[in-house]
Symmetry: C2
Subunit: 186 residues, 2 copies
């Protein structure tokens, strides 16, 4: 997606060896016009998959996931990074390591909102090591739903997340092959 | 807003003395069509205010804030509940107590994205005690921006958040006067 790639080239900043900071338009300040275009792109890519739910992880996955769900006219569900006391009884959970906050987190999801046979599209801002998205896939499958695909805005190919997600269809809108120098391609 | 009020009456569940669980359409599973209508309503209410930024707090404030920002054609900024290592140097922060997670949290915002004179609209899912929204107001003012108004989807009037936010224009789309019994009005 040319517009996203251009924004990454112009505004992305590199922190350390693995972090690409894009908080001017994607994960802190958010450009809603760009997010809508991203949502429409994912909806088009997965239009034949009979998606019934879009799933993401709070917080920065929510903007692209919400516009994807809007374009597909289905609900959006976001996993939480801590267990709020309002989550109810049937809880799905997994431990993951946050790459940008350097700590372990438990991600949780109410089992009330995924049912057997549900066709779930997972959307996130980044694909890095694939650990988070793999956890989301496992939670869907634990609830007997089916992951019909994964859409990510930015894939950091050098962190090899695809290796962890073999067997799933993955669509990324911008691929970052290297940070130093910054190499971005469709 | 009649549609929101109807959803609260039909789907809201009461937990303890102060919590209204609406995670079927607002803050866990999200109805994007309803969120878009909410965003359009806020945009209409504040259309003459020359808003240049919509501010919210992750995660459940993001859906209504994003559609409000989309309708106003301005960026959306979300405060974070922990300080990610990607946030940059100029950081604004405040301590708040989360009502639904029963612990203290630091909320943070990059000072890079609010400038002197910016006209900021704050959007959130709930107004309860007003502590969170008051913290957001203080952060905007610390950066020399101006809070031109506050829009919340659901105001729990019995928690008296307005008392803490005197001097600000507040628009709420549904007012909950009592949980037991559940009393909701426009």
């Amino acid at each position: 997606m040319e517009e996203l790639i251009e924004r990454i080239r112009l505004e992305g900043r590199i922190i350390g060896d693995t972090i690409l900071r894009v908080d001017g338009f994607l994960n802190h300040r958010v450009d809603p016009i760009l997010m809508r275009k991203i949502g429409e792109r994912f909806a088009l890519l997965f239009k034949d998959e009979k998606v019934c739910l879009v799933l993401t992880l709070e917080a920065s996955g929510i903007p692209p996931a919400l516009f994807t769900a809007f374009a597909l006219n289905v609900p959006m569900l976001f996993a939480r990074k801590r267990k709020p006391i309002t989550l109810g009884e049937r809880v799905l959970e997994r431990r993951i390591t946050s790459r940008t906050k350097l700590e372990e987190t438990t991600i949780t999801l109410s089992g009330d909102y995924i049912s057997r046979g549900d066709r779930v599209l997972i959307i996130d801002d980044f694909l890095a090591t694939g650990e988070t998205i793999k956890a989301l896939c496992e939670m869907v499958e634990e609830a007997k739903g089916e992951v019909i695909g994964i859409g990510v805005c930015i894939e950091k190919t050098f962190q090899r997340g695809r290796d962890r997600l073999q067997g799933y269809r993955i669509e990324s809108l911008a691929k970052v092959d290297s940070l130093k120098p910054l190499i971005v391609r469709p």
